[in-house]
């Protein structure tokens, strides 16, 4: 078991993984609990059936998709366990860890080119299509249909803030202080965003508590899934269902997606972002005993320090050439020729702004090496604003706080 708990669960609860009992923490996500119990290989990819593990732990990847209580494709990083929750690995033929379809990975060493593979050969293409439909895809249908929700919720506010990380919290607090009615939504089960990825320490807890208290009305586990029309946005609350939110202005503080590192074996279970590994450590879960950390960022630094304090052997490295292992990380090979035996690779680099909903709402983007940064419309009458990492800014609390004050002033001015 390369991954383990650093302390017993705060609120232990027994769930099952593929029929076997596992004790996890009720206060942390299912994925986090499983990694803490030594299970890091949770899913398989749709085409090559390559082993996958959590890579972001914030609802932005495919690494923790599992069948939960008979429902397929649940992002287990966003769901907390209850007593008796039934979790199963999906997408497998035979048993979870010996999947015969793994062979596809070896048959196609460079990848599958659908445009040419077996195309135009009479008979063969039909057979191959039928085969491909059977082996590819994610999960199987639910045991029973989920009952349809009858009614959509409705909320009204002056300003809706999308994202409950440090910049969204600061924006909400600044607007609240100016007497505006705000509603902040965040897709994670707890507010704090990137602050939650700093592996604990009383000062971080206090910082988050303070910021959450000042931020006012909020909804967690709620995602802005689209703009309806005019000032109406559609929000999906995991527990309560869909919600139409009407606001006079919108602040996009959606943060940024974790980067995808480029090296051989970059999808192996055990390769994850510094924010993911930091979140785990905060839950009392250490991702490995021997950990290679690449990147010099606040989150990579904080994780390396926390992991060492928890007893792990940590190597800070430069450019990684390849990561090897069959179903999880076993060794890491550097460009400079050195290699290490390791259980985990934790990486960080400039992150990719979450521009999706902002663009639908009318924002522009600007391409940088890190991704597509949001540029809110410059028109004087625009009621769309952006703050924090979504604008391409790097993680900097003082800068976010200052930007929040300026942003709140411009919104007050816009409403005047």
């Amino acid at each position: 078991m390369p991954s383990r708990r650093t302390r017993p669960p705060a609120r232990p609860v027994t769930i099952s993984l593929d029929g076997k009992n596992v004790v996890v923490d009720e206060l942390a996500s299912i994925a986090s609990g499983l990694v803490g119990s030594g299970e890091i290989f949770l899913a398989r990819s749709p085409k090559f059936h390559r082993p996958r593990g959590p890579a972001c732990l914030r609802g932005g990847c495919d690494g923790c998709l599992m069948r939960v209580d008979g429902v397929p494709n649940v992002m287990t990083c966003l769901v907390r366990p209850e007593k008796g929750t039934r979790v199963e690995r999906q997408n497998v033929i035979l048993t979870a860890k010996i999947d015969v379809l793994r062979a596809t990975d070896w048959f196609f060493p460079d990848g599958m080119n659908h445009h040419e593979m077996f195309a135009g050969v009479p008979g063969v293409s039909q057979v191959m299509q039928a085969f491909a439909r059977r082996v590819s895809g994610l999960g199987a249908l639910p045991e029973s249909a989920l009952p349809p929700r009858e009614k959509m919720g409705h909320e009204r506010c002056d300003v809706m803030i999308v994202g409950g990380g440090p910049s969204g919290l600061a924006a909400a607090a600044a607007l609240k202080r100016r007497g505006l009615k705000t509603l902040l939504i965040d897709d994670q089960p707890a507010l704090g965003g990137s602050l939650l990825a700093f592996p604990s320490g009383a000062h971080i807890d206090a910082e988050i508590d303070l910021r959450v208290r000042d931020a006012g009305p909020h909804r967690v586990s709620s995602t802005a899934i689209g703009v309806l029309e005019g000032d109406d946005w559609l929000v999906d609350d995991q527990r309560e269902g869909l919600l139409r939110v009407e606001a006079r202005a919108h602040v996009i503080a959606a943060g940024a997606h974790d980067p995808t590192p480029i090296f051989e074996g970059n999808d192996l279970p055990g390769v994850m972002s510094a924010r993911a590994a930091g979140r785990l450590l905060r839950d009392g879960v250490l991702v490995g005993e021997r950990i290679v950390v690449s990147g010099k960022t606040p989150h990579a630094d904080a994780f390396a320090e926390g992991a060492r304090a928890a007893g792990a052997e940590v190597h800070r490295v430069g450019e990684i050439a390849s990561v090897r292992g069959m179903s999880r990380v076993r060794s890491v090979h550097l460009r400079e020729g050195k290699h290490f035996d390791a259980d985990a690779v934790v990486h960080d680099a400039p992150r990719a702004p979450c521009f999706e909903v902002a663009v639908q709402a009318g924002a522009q983007t600007q391409h940088t090496d890190a991704g597509f940064a949001v540029r809110a419309p410059a028109r004087a009458e625009s009621t769309l604003f952006a703050i924090g990492e979504v604008t391409g800014a790097s993680f900097d609390l003082a800068a976010f706080d200052a930007a929040a004050e300026a942003l709140a002033d411009s919104i007050v001015e816009r409403f005047a």
Binding site: P46, G60, P109, K151, I225, G226, D258, T260
Partner: protein, 89 residues
């Protein structure tokens, strides 16, 4: 495990495939996406778009515009979608 560099985990798209597609003249993000299928899986580009655009730009392509993300921006169950009202108010 076979030695692959994955640029898109959800759809198992490799760096090799991406570079081959660029070599065939898919020189902007939208065209590259349509040919290789990156960004069309579970996460809808949250993990792969930035890295594919960067590689395209490094190889001389035009990465000035992303592909167009379409709502819903996060998976929603049909059970939740059933509650949408389409009445005019």
């Amino acid at each position: 495990m076979s030695a692959k560099v994955l640029v898109c985990r959800c759809e198992d798209v490799t760096l090799h495939e991406l570079e081959e597609a660029i070599g065939r003249g898919h020189a902007d993000v939208e065209s590259l996406k349509r040919y290789t299928g990156f960004g069309t899986g579970w996460c809808q580009g949250k993990g792969c778009l930035a890295v594919c655009a960067r590689i395209l730009a490094q190889r001389g392509g035009d990465a000035s515009n992303p592909f167009t993300p379409r709502p819903p921006f996060h998976p929603v169950t049909l059970s939740h979608l059933a509650a949408i009202d389409d009445e005019d108010e």
